[in-house]
Symmetry: C2
Subunit: 119 residues, 2 copies
Amino acid sequence: MRKNAEINATPVCQVKMQAISDAMSLLSGKWKFHILGTLIEGSTLGFMDLLREVNGIGSKMLSKELQDLEMNKLISRTVMNTKPITVSYSITEYGKTLSPLIDEMAKWGIDYRKSVYGK
Amino acid sequence: MRKNAEINATPVCQVKMQAISDAMSLLSGKWKFHILGTLIEGSTLGFMDLLREVNGIGSKMLSKELQDLEMNKLISRTVMNTKPITVSYSITEYGKTLSPLIDEMAKWGIDYRKSVYGK
DNA sequence: TGACATAGTATCCAACAGGAAACTACTTTC
DNA sequence: GAAAGTAGTTTCCTGTTGGATACTATGTCA
């Protein structure tokens, strides 16, 4: 009988598990993928644009999620010198590295739908 | 000025967003990736094995997460005719289709760590 | 017979996630 | 001067997540 972890005790697994935890903590919540996806697609958008594009989100959540994403350098926030003042959000180069992951997620989700609701 | 969503109103975006929501809802929570990753790596494990392998999880959460995953056909549960009775959990063929997604997530997380804590 | 293994369930609780609505503050337009 | 646009913040509330602890039920071994 086995008393201690064996599989996940290997260094390579430890590193992978840690990595997944890291990624999940940055991308957790109901809205982050939607916001990132929208910014990847739409390049540069203001706060109100995002409020309209991200279906169902409220201003409180949008504000909070944008702060999170900016803190993690996935998006950038620039106050524009316009009248009235506008703020433009866009994806960073680093944020763009999430594209393969987002695509993979979407791909799997699409296949999943097919398998559940018939092909 | 734009009053309505434009980017995400396109059918292709709607489908992608829906797909991501689907995938996220199946894989949400603190433990699902860990459990799936462990079962992909370890092939077949009992309840107590998983309790030991998945670092930090408690029996209540493990039980609940395993039920969720089984309901979604990502893992299978088999009661073995042994003494004492044991139950073996393993990844299904369908669950294995998550491998690319899990790998992509791990890959991104590893790169993220490098970029934060120096290369 | 008591310790220990199997696989969970039950109970209680704290923390967090997320939503609705109202509100701030500033500027431009009608 | 009122309305409407910009970008948020504040408050209050509910529902979910997740953890600790204890417990059930069964069987084996020494």
